[in-house]
């Protein structure tokens, strides 16, 4: 018996796929948690991160806070929220927002910080206002790292959203829990496969997005950089130089 194949067979059983509480619905819930939580986290973390990166103020606090938030166990958080505001989708959502904030925050301020200070200085010296420096220089140039932050936030939430069932919040964790309790390993593995595939898909999409958002002038430089170097060491006649001998 092959559990993996059983899992796949479980997924493609129309009885499991459709209907209320079916796979499609659970996938929808999983993705809603993911994008909902990341969107909410973005509203808080991105402006804050941009401000920190632009002004350099509050950086230490941000590093400490995001480090601290990262260390929080999501499950514990989720249960605390569920106890505080009741079961349903709100408690998991809130826990996932907190899970996503550190990645987004550090992506935003690291993106702005990574912009060459001389470029920023020049932009300001040309007469850009602080807002223009941020929106026309720091944001476009920092965008790849910012999207990188969103990417890791999305990945963390999409994987962790399986925990939502602890607060009766639905999503794919329902199947995993169910499979575990009833020893239906096909269901358990099937649901796990779906979560994995979702995560890989999102990862791929965001990797692509991140590449697309590298400003063209920056890529142009990178390409010419690569070309100016030989692709591999050239063959030379004679014995190779061995350093240290």
């Amino acid at each position: 018996m092959n559990l993996f194949l059983d899992g796949i067979a479980w997924i493609f059983d129309p009885a499991h796929l459709n209907g209320p509480g079916g796979i499609w619905v659970r996938i929808g819930e999983q993705l809603s948690y993911t994008f909902g939580a990341v969107a909410l986290a973005a509203i808080i973390a991105i402006p804050l991160g941009l401000w920190i990166g632009h002004t350099g103020r509050g950086r230490d606090v941000a590093v400490l806070t995001s480090g601290g938030l990262r260390a929080l166990p999501s499950l514990g958080l989720l249960i605390i929220f569920a106890l505080a505001i009741g079961i349903g989708f709100k408690a998991p959502l809130l826990a996932f927002v907190i899970l996503a904030i550190p990645s987004l925050l550090s992506g935003a301020y690291a993106g702005v910080e990574a912009v060459d200070r001389r470029t920023v200085d020049a932009a300001r010296a040309q007469g850009m206002t602080e807002w223009q420096v941020l929106t026309k220089v720091e944001l476009p140039l920092g965008l790849p790292l910012l999207i990188g932050g969103i990417r890791s936030g999305v990945l963390q939430v999409v994987a962790t959203a399986t925990l939502a069932y602890f607060a009766s919040g639905g999503a794919l964790g329902v199947f995993i829990n169910d499979g575990l309790k009833t020893r239906d390993y096909a269901e358990l593995i099937g649901a796990s496969i779906i979560v994995t595939v979702l995560a890989l898909l999102l990862e791929g999409i965001f990797a692509l997005l991140q590449r697309l958002f590298v400003p063209r002038g920056v890529t142009a430089g990178r390409i010419s950089d690569v070309r100016s170097r030989p692709l591999r060491p050239r063959a030379v006649v004679g014995s190779p130089i061995q350093e240290g001998k």
Partner: protein
């Protein structure tokens, strides 16, 4: 005319970069601030467009206190060229040049058209307009930097070691180009360098700075060469050595100018 009256700049860490500076920078001429690192030359330059804020004293442009103006507006009215070109890497050459006019509200098409003309002015092929800065050589980038500095047609052009990072041959080219541009446009140029040869080549007025932004000597290159005000100045300009210590020898009945080592550098024309 730019006027500094007892201007002092002390940085938060306590360093006094500029100490009670009095300086008049005449209009439509090139004034070169020259000195070694730590002489406060860049600080002086950057106080003119308020990229560095003075600690005390008065700075006026044409009699107007620059602290009565909005710093953003002030900067848009002053051209600024820096060492590493400081171009925006994500914008094409033409858009880099058009930056300031567009900030000033000029329509994009008009600003781009004007930018192309400016590329001609600084001796750049218009074909480079659609490239990104990273696709240009260092010398070309500096030319774009100069074009951008000139784009809003400012009266004042600040240049902070603009040719410091290019190789000597390109530097000589760029210097000649600047001399030509200045002959055509007659801007008030404030130019910072640590290279005394560059200072003498470009400056109508040369201001030699010692540590703490104190003026060791200010005057025309001929003034400074003929009458160094102090040993510091004499040493800095190398008055006593190499090709500054020239003498005349008569060879075959003509006056040949030779340097310190007796190597001929030219013939005096009568």
């Amino acid at each position: 005319m730019i006027e500094f009256r007892t201007v002092t700049k002390q940085f938060p860490d306590g360093t006094v970069a500029v100490d009670a500076l009095d300086l008049v920078i005449p209009a439509r001429q090139t004034t070169v601030l020259v000195g070694s690192s730590g002489s406060g030359k860049t600080t002086i330059l950057r106080m003119i467009n308020r990229m560095v804020d003075k600690t005390s004293g008065d700075i006026e442009i044409d009699g107007e206190d620059i602290y009565s103006l909005n710093p953003v507006k002030l900067r848009r009215s002053i051209g600024y060229v820096m060492q590493n070109s400081g171009l925006l890497p994500h914008r094409k050459v033409v858009d880099n040049v058009a930056t300031v006019p567009m900030l000033n509200g000029v329509k994009k098409a008009d600003a781009r058209e004007a930018a192309l003309t400016l590329l001609d002015t600084v001796g750049l092929d218009r074909q480079l307009a659609e490239r990104y800065p990273s696709q240009l050589s260092g010398g070309q980038q500096q030319r774009v930097g100069v074009a951008r500095g000139l784009a809003a047609d400012p009266n004042i052009l600040l240049m902070d070691e603009p040719f410091g990072a290019v190789d000597p041959i390109v530097r000589a080219e760029l210097q000649q180009e600047l001399v030509r541009i200045q002959r055509e446009l007659g801007k008030t140029i404030v130019f910072v360098t640590h290279d005394i040869d560059e200072a003498f080549l470009l400056g109508d007025q040369v201001v030699l700075l010692e540590k703490g932004g104190r003026i060791a000597q200010a005057g025309t290159p001929a003034d400074i060469l003929s009458k160094p005000a102090s040993d510091f100045v004499a040493t800095f300009i190398g008055a006593d050595r190499g090709r500054r210590a020239l003498r005349v020898e008569v060879v075959n009945g003509r006056s040949v100018v030779v340097d310190e080592d007796g190597r001929p550098t030219g013939v005096l024309q009568s």
